[in-house]
Symmetry: C2
Subunit: 207 residues, 2 copies
DNA sequence: CCCAAAACCACCCAAACGGGTAATTGCAAC
DNA sequence: GTTGCAATTACCCGTTTGGGTGGTTTTGGG
């Protein structure tokens, strides 16, 4: 039984070319190709294909909204995004919306098929530069300017502890904790806990 | 000029096998293989190889600590982790520590070499299951229990705004904001802003 | 049509917070 | 050997917050 692939891509030529490549390859089938989400998603919800290829730059409803819509209805179907510009913030928005992969357009046919197969078998095909981008997002983006003690305080701050609790946890006085927090706010350029926690988590100063 | 690969792997047989595979392949060279980080890292800091393969389960100093140490000295050198069990929390710790890739051991030689090449050319080779794990980490882990308005409030809360500012931003009274926040705390089972922001960001209720 | 949830608003009060100022100690770098 | 940062503690004061209790109106689904 072949892998049933569906395509949502607004460019007529690219859409037909991909469909031909996929449908003409043994082990693959592509009977459904749409030019936008509005027409494609409702059909796919009924058809439940094995893999969906979705252009990210779609007119009307973007691929990001599309993947979110599709995920809502078919949470188990892997959606792979297609893009022309691989250096985009849309990568993360797509992944957050539920895409499992992210490929640049114009991939050689063999690699396209490999990617589809990988997506279908529990993998996450990504173009090298995109994979690196994703991985790098786990690493601290900026240098942590805080001292050792300040980081300890920040960790407890992120857990929602108050002056008194942090103080007893670190065996110091509440006033000391307060002083540390004041210094943390200055170094992170924030003015309250919520902002400090936000910055700490976004920059991965604490895990 | 071949890609100069270094290995840190405690199992003697695996180490030698990989070294033979790599060093015996055209376009690749592996002149350095170590059994632990303590001996390996200082040498590598001087040698500055093109790619490092690092076992994650090392005696004494774990590969996670090792990659952090290496990154500190050679931030530009890509480190690829090697593992036996691919379903581990150590994946994320490694990536946070600076690894660019994550492979299961016992990969066919051709794929190992492909992965090394990919790492060297700005990619992030990952075994399919691991890549999927990484991608899935971008998606909300649990269902968001909040209402539309509550999410709006939460977003502003995460930016460190206070009752009054949120109130004017949403064209409602401070008391209403307070009521929303109270409900948010209940639904998220937290008791203050720091915890709410922490939970919201970790579960990706806000971006 | 009704009911539950969402969204809205108000008041009280104690506790927690943020900002300011000021001081001592120790250690490391220059 | 002094200069600077980290870590520690203290006090004052006005603002903000969280918890409690009460209520109205709007809205969407059964």
């Amino acid at each position: 039984m072949p892998i049933r692939v569906a395509i949502i891509e607004d460019d007529h030529d690219i859409r037909q070319l991909m469909q031909l490549i996929i449908d003409g390859s043994p082990g693959f089938a592509c009977k459904q190709a749409f030019e936008d989400c509005k027409t494609g998603v409702p059909v796919l919800v009924e058809a439940a294909p094995d893999v969906v290829l979705m252009d990210i730059d779609l007119p009307e409803m973007s691929g990001i909204t599309g993947v979110a819509w599709l995920k809502e209805k078919l949470p188990e179907v892997p959606v792979v995004m297609l893009t022309v510009h691989e250096d985009n913030e849309a990568v993360f928005d797509s992944l957050c919306a539920g895409a499992v992969g992210y490929l640049v357009k114009g991939l050689p046919p063999v690699q396209l098929l490999q990617a589809i197969e990988e997506a279908h078998h529990g993998g996450s095909p990504m173009s090298p530069a995109i994979a690196r981008k994703v991985v790098r997002s786990f690493q601290p983006q900026v240098a942590n300017p805080l001292s050792g003690r300040e980081n300890e305080v920040l960790t407890l701050l992120c857990q929602g502890e108050n002056y008194r609790t942090i103080a007893t946890a670190l065996f110091v006085s509440s006033n000391t904790v307060k002083a540390h927090i004041k210094n943390i706010y200055e170094k992170l350029q924030v003015h309250n806990r919520a902002q400090a926690v936000g910055k700490a988590l976004k920059h991965r100063f604490v895990k």
